[in-house]
């Protein structure tokens, strides 16, 4: 890893990170501020939810209305899924651009002509991706935790909350690895931001569709969102070893392939 490059990239991405942190934290805070009102009007809301198709709740991990009554259930159903989607968009946009922008901004001619190897460039930029994704998850999860502490009407399982946060982080890292992989496949660098965001949204759409449509339920296996469990209010909620292996395995595989490609990639400006 090259320290100079790492620090410069951190600085270059800091504004974007702060903006994303602020947006997600605000979304969490606003949503959690409705928890008190929700609890006061639970009987009316319960009545309203009876007309909502069951599948529409299931994709948020809710199997019945009571799941929403715990603060963790409310948080998981209303925030985590958005944290997962928005966090994944942040991760994939960052990772799909971090190498490619040197090509389409024509700065690769400065970077690649310094005494630094391709391997050092890749690892420095990868470290920046991991650090950014981790910081975003840490700050937004912390914001979620503080909000739950402020509005809770009982206790909630910190262990379940941490597992939920780990699932969000793993999902974000998987999409970051996918973005990095895609960017190394692009020849004669052009931005792929829209395409990357599209991938996250399509995966989320596939996951949603598989939950609300019986006939499309098998399609859900294609989406990484399926493997990030959000039913934190369930007593048996835990970190599934196979899901963990799925996230870590795919992320490592995509990152490893990206690394191999980048070492031998022709870079044009």
């Amino acid at each position: 890893m090259n320290r100079n490059l790492f620090l410069m990239e951190i600085k270059r991405n800091s504004l974007s990170l702060i903006i994303w942190m602020t947006i997600i934290t605000l979304l969490i805070s606003v949503t959690m501020s409705f928890y008190g009102t929700f609890m006061e009007n639970q009987s009316k809301i319960a009545g309203m939810l009876t007309i909502v198709p069951k599948g529409a709740l299931q994709f948020k991990g809710i199997s019945n209305f009571n799941d929403l009554l715990s603060v963790l259930g409310f948080y998981a159903a209303n925030n985590v899924i958005y944290m997962m989607v928005l966090g994944s968009i942040f991760a994939i946009v960052l990772s799909s651009n971090i190498l490619l922008k040197e090509e389409y901004n024509k700065t690769a001619e400065y970077l690649l002509t310094r005494p630094v190897t391709r391997s050092e460039i890749f690892t420095s930029k990868l470290a920046v991706i991991y650090l950014n994704v981790f910081l975003l998850n840490f700050v937004t999860s912390l914001a979620g935790f503080i909000c739950m502490e402020l509005v809770k009407k009982g206790v909630f399982s910190i262990g379940a909350f941490l597992i939920l946060s780990v699932y969000t982080l793993l999902l974000n890292i998987l999409f970051a690895s996918a973005g990095l992989f895609l960017s190394t496949l692009i020849k004669r660098g052009k931005p792929i931001t829209t395409f990357s965001i599209g991938i996250v949204l399509i995966m989320y759409f596939i996951f949603t569709l598989s939950k609300i449509t019986e006939s499309a339920s098998k399609l859900g296996y294609l989406s990484p969102f399926r493997y990030a469990r959000v039913d934190a209010f369930n007593p048996d909620y835990s970190l599934d070893i196979w899901h963990l292996a799925y996230f870590i395995g795919i992320s490592l595989l995509l990152t490893g392939i990206s690394y191999r490609i980048y070492l031998r990639k022709d870079i044009y400006t």
Binding site: E109, T113, P115
Partner: protein
């Protein structure tokens, strides 16, 4: 003489089926200012990008200071400076931030002093944002960044684009002075006059192949003469087809301009059989020599 600073052996690069460069062989010696000329698309930048390990060759090899440009690229780059043809630096930085970022890749004692010296020489405002700079000023930034670490070899790809004549002269003077101190310079350009001003030796590249490798003085001293003849009567081009006559251009009023590389006596003998009003035999300019090689 020691090992060449740049040693290119049978280097080829194809983009799918499209030709980049083909079987390039080149040796550039220590302390040389070497010109690499050819029009756009001839393969100059492809060659340089392979040397800088930005792209990989299809076949062949290249060494800089005895080190392989792929395997030992980091060690090589610590000793070379490079000016790209497109002067696009990080637009979010100001000039000083960019130069400080560049110099931190090297172990340069008194780096700030070096930044100040070079910036003063090129009249650069260190506080300006790079995205606000004109093309000429961005080029100056590019020149300064290439010399911050006192490289042993400087590789220049169309370095003067956008520079005003005054700054070009400052830049050339700096190159000459660095060369006197031992710096080797690889100067790629399509502008012959600037190559002529600086370089001792030149390679002409055409359609991916080196077609001429020559001392610049030899190139000038070649038998090639530029001949301008004004005939009193109209002369058919076919009647003018004598050995050594090339690149015939027929102008107005029976005026013919051509390049002649044959025996001058044969030309005179031929002309004496015709009625001519005017005859000029002169040394062609380097541009004309270049065009001559290209057309042939």
């Amino acid at each position: 003489m020691g090992e060449p600073v740049i040693n290119i052996t049978n280097l080829s690069k194809f983009y799918g089926k499209a030709r980049g460069i083909e079987h390039i062989n080149l040796e550039i010696n220590e302390g040389e200012i070497f010109g690499f000329i050819g029009p756009n698309g001839a393969g100059k930048s492809t060659t340089i990008r392979i040397l800088m390990n930005m792209i990989f060759p299809t076949s062949g090899s290249a060494k800089i200071m005895g080190m392989d440009v792929i395997r030992e690229t980091k060690q090589i780059k610590s000793q070379i400076g490079y000016i790209p043809s497109d002067a696009n630096a990080y637009s979010s930085m100001n000039v000083h931030e960019f130069l400080a970022y560049c110099i931190r890749f090297y172990k340069v004692p008194e780096g700030e002093k070096r930044i100040s010296e070079l910036s003063r020489l090129f009249e650069l405002d260190l506080t300006r944002n790079i995205e606000d700079l004109s093309l000429g000023n961005r080029k100056k930034v590019s020149i300064v960044q290439s010399m911050l670490h006192n490289p042993k070899l400087l590789i220049l790809d169309e370095p003067t684009t956008g520079l005003d004549p005054l700054m070009q002269s400052v830049f050339f003077e700096l190159l000459r002075s660095e060369n006197r101190r031992g710096m080797t310079i690889f100067f790629s350009s399509h502008i012959l006059s600037e190559v002529q001003m600086l370089c001792k030796r030149v390679a002409i590249i055409k359609e991916g192949k080196i077609i001429q490798l020559e001392d610049i003085d030899n190139l000038r001293r070649k038998q090639l003469k530029k001949v301008t003849i004004e005939f009193s009567d109209h002369l058919n081009n076919q009647n003018f087809a004598i050995p050594g006559i090339e690149s015939v251009v027929t102008g107005p009023a029976n005026l013919i301009t051509c390049m002649y590389s044959g025996n001058i006596n044969e030309l005179v003998a031929f002309l004496s059989a015709n009625k001519i009003l005017n005859l000029i035999i002169e040394e062609p300019s380097l541009d004309e020599i270049f065009l001559h090689y290209y057309k042939n």
